[in-house]
């Protein structure tokens, strides 16, 4: 083969060029620009931006400072949400997939559609639907409780109900995704594994523990990691449903980052918070990945 001509290499480059430009303009440059901003006293409405070095980061790590409070309470609220939601998203997602697989074939598709439908709607639509469902006076849930002679619950304004509401809406909205991935994995476990185990006299639970779980392990880890990342990025639910309340108890980190930038107009410190938040997400997923795959079997 002769070495391809300059012109040929140029044509090849032209094919990647549109995407490459977009990649640079809306991903690479923003990331670098964000780092630049985080080293400046960058006010949203001002034109002069003073270089302040690591000041924004130092403030975030200085106990007692405003930024420290914003970052740590936001982070703690986010972590709480992750801890409450991820186990349920994984376990119930798998449970739904197992249930689906046990149903007669001709109704399986229908039920899959039912469980998966909420995933197709927008976060803002989801939030408005649940604002109505959770409404203290006119809401569906309290109406149901009244029928059972149970006192109304302040779903969106009282602890610990705010967390219950946020987790419930999250499950309703996103669990279909996990279910689909699990269903796909379950279908790929070879049928004859189960047959062999049945002949050996293994009961359903034993077959689940010794065949199903090990076979779907990689997918399980994928789900744990993606659910953790998604829950770390939670925004629509607390932003629109509880508005971070009561007090600041459900105000998650992403809300604090955007408020610092758009309400406080301090884009510099907000960017520093955003970068730290991104680092935490990347580190947590890397650790999960390491625990999952680093262990020798």
């Amino acid at each position: 083969m002769v070495k391809s001509s300059l012109q040929s290499r140029l044509t090849s480059t032209l094919f990647v060029l549109p995407y490459l430009l977009s990649f640079c303009a809306f991903l690479l440059i923003p990331i670098l620009y964000g780092i630049y901003i985080s080293f400046h006293n960058f006010e949203l409405l001002s034109d002069t931006h003073k270089f302040v070095g690591f000041d924004n980061y130092v403030k975030i790590f200085t106990p007692g400072s405003y930024l420290f409070e914003q970052f740590t309470t936001g982070l703690w609220n986010t972590v709480q949400f992750v801890l409450y939601s991820v186990p349920l998203l994984v376990v119930l997602g798998l449970a739904l997939a197992l249930l689906l697989n046990q149903l007669p074939k001709r109704i399986r598709g229908l039920f899959r559609t039912f469980y998966f439908m909420p995933y197709a709607i927008s976060g803002s639509v989801m939030a408005v639907i649940w604002l109505m469902m959770f409404d203290t006076n006119a809401g569906f849930l309290n109406g149901l409780l009244a029928k059972l002679h149970i006192d109304p619950v302040a779903w969106l304004t009282d602890l610990p109900w705010v967390w219950v509401s946020l987790v419930l809406t999250t499950l309703w909205w996103t669990i279909g995704f996990n279910m689909i991935i699990f269903t796909n994995a379950l279908n790929e476990v070879p049928e004859d594994y189960y047959e062999a185990a049945s002949i050996d006299g293994a009961n359903a639970w034993k077959r689940f523990v010794s065949i199903t779980l090990p076979s779907i392990r990689p997918v399980m880890l994928f789900i744990i990691i993606t659910s953790t990342i998604a829950s770390f990025n939670v925004y629509a639910q607390p932003f629109l449903l509880t508005r971070g309340g009561p007090g600041d108890s459900t105000k998650v980190l992403l809300m604090n980052v955007l408020d610092e930038a758009f309400k406080g107009k301090q884009v510099g410190s907000a960017s520093a918070m955003a970068i730290l938040m991104a680092l935490i997400i990347i580190i947590v997923s890397a650790v999960q990945y390491k625990i999952a795959y680093g262990r020798k079997e």
């Binding site: 391809s4 290499r9 090849s12 480059t13 094919f15 990647v16 549109p18 995407y19 490459l20 977009s22 303009a25 809306f26 440059i29 990331i31 964000g34 901003i37 249930l99 689906l100 046990q102 149903l103 007669p104 109704i107 039920f111 039912f114 998966f116 909420p118 197709a120 709607i121 927008s122 976060g123 803002s124 639509v125 408005v128 649940w130 109505m132 469902m133 006076n137 006119a138 809401g139 569906f140 109406g143 029928k147 309703w172 689909i180 994995a185 994928f222 990342i229 990025n233 629509a236 629109l240 508005r243 992403l254 980052v257 955007l258 758009f262 960017s271 938040m277 991104a278 990347i282 997923s285």
Partner: protein, 274 residues
């Protein structure tokens, strides 16, 4: 016996999943009084189309709903078209063009970018568009979505698996790269392109956070950002009216979802294979 019990459980869960959606539909036909009365009437006592008619006439809570929905459909369609074009061209070059410079550098960079949390780019992207004077324009609503690498990743896998012989034969017949891409690879990848289109359209159409911050005037809002705006405002308890808006907002995605569910499922399971 065991089967009937399972079906029963499945039905109960289905009711739980569908109830909020059915309640949304039912409430959208109630007047504000009935919607707020806390009565548990699934069928509205006095069904009314007023919420919808007012919405279409533009005097529902003084917001331009028809404009919002048009914005959403336009932004979704334009964004999807750009993603399809850019990703398929890039994926073709990365998968089939041996003499593409820096291939070994670009491919891992693109794929790795899918791991980057959105929070890292959100603020600086806003500042970038602000500096360009592009806040509150369609460019701001459309362009950011074109940098996603998922389409490149999906199509790369497809193009890599495409038989070499057909391409060889075309080249011997004198076809150039552009002709091979547009006349051979694209027509052969209609189904995967539809999958990517559905996935991309739903993603753009449903995103409300970026449009909420990157638009400033009412007529530039997308329907999802508009609804988020209303949910924060003073109309939060006008449930009859709000629900007619959410029904309108949800209709396009539900139609696409029901029709294209197989494709949509394929796209997300593809993502899960990584």
């Amino acid at each position: 016996m065991k089967k009937t019990l399972l079906v029963l459980v499945a039905v109960i869960i289905a009711v739980i999943f569908l109830l909020p959606l059915i309640w949304m539909l039912s409430t959208s036909f109630k007047n504000d009084f009935e919607a707020l009365a806390g009565q548990m009437s699934l069928i509205p006592k006095k069904p009314t189309f007023e919420n919808y008619l007012d919405g279409l006439k533009g005097n529902l809570m003084n917001v331009p709903i028809t404009r919002w929905i048009s914005n959403s459909l336009f932004v979704g369609a334009a964004g999807t078209a750009i993603v399809l074009l850019f990703s398929s061209m890039a994926a073709y070059a990365l998968a089939r063009l041996q003499d593409l410079p820096f291939k070994k550098l670009m491919f891992p960079m693109f794929i790795g970018s899918m791991m980057i949390p959105g929070v890292l780019t959100f603020l600086p992207m806003y500042m970038e568009f602000n500096a360009l004077g592009w806040i509150n324009t369609y460019a701001a609503l459309i362009l950011p979505y074109s940098s996603g690498a998922f389409g490149v990743f999906l199509l790369f896998q497809f193009f890599t698996a495409f038989p070499k012989e057909i391409e060889e034969a075309a080249r011997i017949d004198g076809a150039n790269k552009w002709q091979i891409y547009s006349r051979i690879l694209l027509p052969a990848s209609v189904s995967i392109m539809v999958t990517l289109a559905i996935f991309t359209f739903m993603g753009i159409y449903n995103d409300f956070v970026w449009p909420l911050y990157s638009t400033t005037s009412p007529e530039m809002r997308t329907i999802t950002a508009g609804i988020a705006m209303m949910a924060q405002g003073s109309y939060t308890q006008a449930y009859g009216k709000l629900m007619s808006m959410t029904v309108i907002a949800t209709l396009p995605v539900f139609i696409i979802f029901i029709v294209g569910q197989r494709s949509f499922v394929k796209a997300i399971t593809q993502a899960g294979v990584k």
